[in-house]
């Protein structure tokens, strides 16, 4: 069996007395679109933030293409936490899309997209700019390169954020509730971009409350509750035949809210 792109084993994370994640295992193979659903506070966001090294993990391990993230084994065989400086190359291999977009507000849209490839990867400026333009066109914002983020709608900002993450040619794209901060009529344009990425077999982990998206786009759905993976399977299995009571309750609440 080939090594999965992402392998999470026994992942644990606490915030003070609160257990955010407990013993989470997750494998993501190349080209898979894993959608993580669950109630608020179930640890979904913490999971992707731990994978992206934005939070220090307390237990277990995360591997990207078989390489430990944020940890290394030194010459004496002692496991050591890597300083932030040393993990930058690992972060570059993962693209992160935040709930609150987090575009660099003092930079133009175009520069938001090419800044990191130029500074982090050392790409030549001309090349990076041309690619930034291509990526902006791909998310339907080719004409907004000179605008500042504040001049764009939330949906447009989030599409720029996706282009910015893609500019690093990541192995894995992580989405942390990408549509939760958007007005309802703007959600569709962002989901459309994500759907097209999925169709191109981009490896993705998506945390979202958009169950319709999970049903249509996911290759696998993971249901989390209270910091644990409770159930996972194909969308048909998870939505059509929920085995645990917690998932049944969760889905009922959602369909009640939708109707």
């Amino acid at each position: 069996m080939t090594t999965p792109v992402l392998r999470v084993r026994g992942l644990g994370k606490r915030f003070g007395d609160v257990t955010a994640l407990a013993d989470v295992d997750l494998d993501v193979a190349e080209g898979e679109v894993v959608v993580v659903i669950g109630p608020s506070g179930s640890g979904k966001s913490t999971l992707v933030r731990c994978i992206d090294l934005l939070e220090e993990i307390d237990a277990g391990s995360v591997e990207l293409d078989g390489e430990l993230l944020g940890l290394r084994v030194d010459r004496r065989g002692v496991l050591r936490r890597m300083p932030a400086r040393a993990t930058a190359p690992q972060r570059r291999r993962m693209g992160m899309v935040f709930q609150s977009f987090n575009l660099f507000s003092h930079l133009t849209v175009e520069r938001n997209v090419w800044e990191a490839p130029v500074r982090s990867l050392g790409e030549p400026l001309a090349e990076a700019r041309a690619r930034a333009q291509q990526l902006l066109e791909r998310v339907g914002l080719g004409h907004k390169g000179d605008a500042y983020p504040v001049q764009l709608s939330g949906g447009q900002q989030q599409r720029v954020a996706i282009a910015r993450a893609l500019a690093m040619r990541p192995r894995l794209m992580l989405f942390d509730e990408p549509t939760s901060a958007l007005d309802p009529e703007l959600v569709g344009e962002v989901l459309a971009v994500m759907t097209s990425l999925a169709q191109e077999r981009t490896t993705m982990v998506v945390v979202t409350h958009e169950l319709q998206f999970a049903r249509e786009v996911a290759t696998r759905v993971v249901f989390m509750d209270a910091g644990r993976v409770v159930e996972q399977g194909t969308p048909d299995e998870v939505f059509g035949n929920p085995r645990t009571e917690r998932l049944q309750t969760f889905l009922q609440r959602f369909s009640a809210a939708a109707s």
């Binding site: 992206d52 090294l53 934005l54 932030a84 400086r85 930058a88 190359p89 690992q90 972060r91 570059r92 993962m94 693209g95 992160m96 935040f98 609150s100 987090n102 575009l103 660099f104 507000s105 003092h106 930079l107 133009t108 800044e115 990191a116 500074r119 982090s120 500042y148 983020p149 504040v150 910015r164 993450a165 690093m168």
Partner: protein
Amino acid sequence: MDPAPTTQAPDARDSRPERRPWLWVAWVVLALLAAQVIAFVLRSDRLELPVVGEYLFAAPVLDGLVTTISLTAIATVLGALVCLARLSSLAPLRYLAAAWIAVFRSVPPLVQLLFWFNLAYLVPVLSIGIPFGPSVGEWSANDVITPWTAAVIGLSLYNSPYSAEIIRSGLSAVPRGQLEAASSLGLPARDTFFRIRLPQATRIILPPMGSQVISLLKGTSLVSVIAMTDLLGAAREVYTRTFEVVPLLIVAIVWYIVLVAVLTAGQSWLERRFSRGY
């Protein structure tokens, strides 16, 4: 039901501004005051405007001006360095900077100038070397502490805590999400600081920093008590010789006003420059 068309309803376009009779009174009072000031300036023979004109661009005054500007610039830069230490990831450096800020913010600038000028009494010999071990070089404190070095040290130390706190508050006001995005993109720490964090902080730092630099600029006039010829010192040197006290103070005043005007203009230009995207 549609509202019936009507001709009686008032139209805002027909309205006139409210009457303000006191506004005219205020204008008249202001005009009278201005006329009085102008008349005083034109008629007073003690103001000696020709003398002001004569010394405005005189060599000693311009030298003093350069001293004033250099002192301001050096003390501002040193303040920024203390701030970097205050934010360093090395705990000892951070504590040193915090202690530095606590001490030097408490001592009045005039007291500091006098203290550093008289350092030779406390420490006759300055030496660099291994602590409690052999020394590499030694200098007589009397030679090292000139009015110039005492002024630089005193003003820099006095100013650095203020600048450091202003810069620190600006840096910590940059939203966490901006830094998370930079970190997630694997931007090197240096680029994250200089291209993401500092430019965004500058927008917040500029207004208080502008006031701080202006007050430092004016504070440099204190150095004339340790025989330093800054702008005020130069004016004093001339008037102790010629007794044209008021005209030379006016020369100094004009230059202070010009410098502050230039700083203010620079500040608003920078503020516009760094408010792009907000």
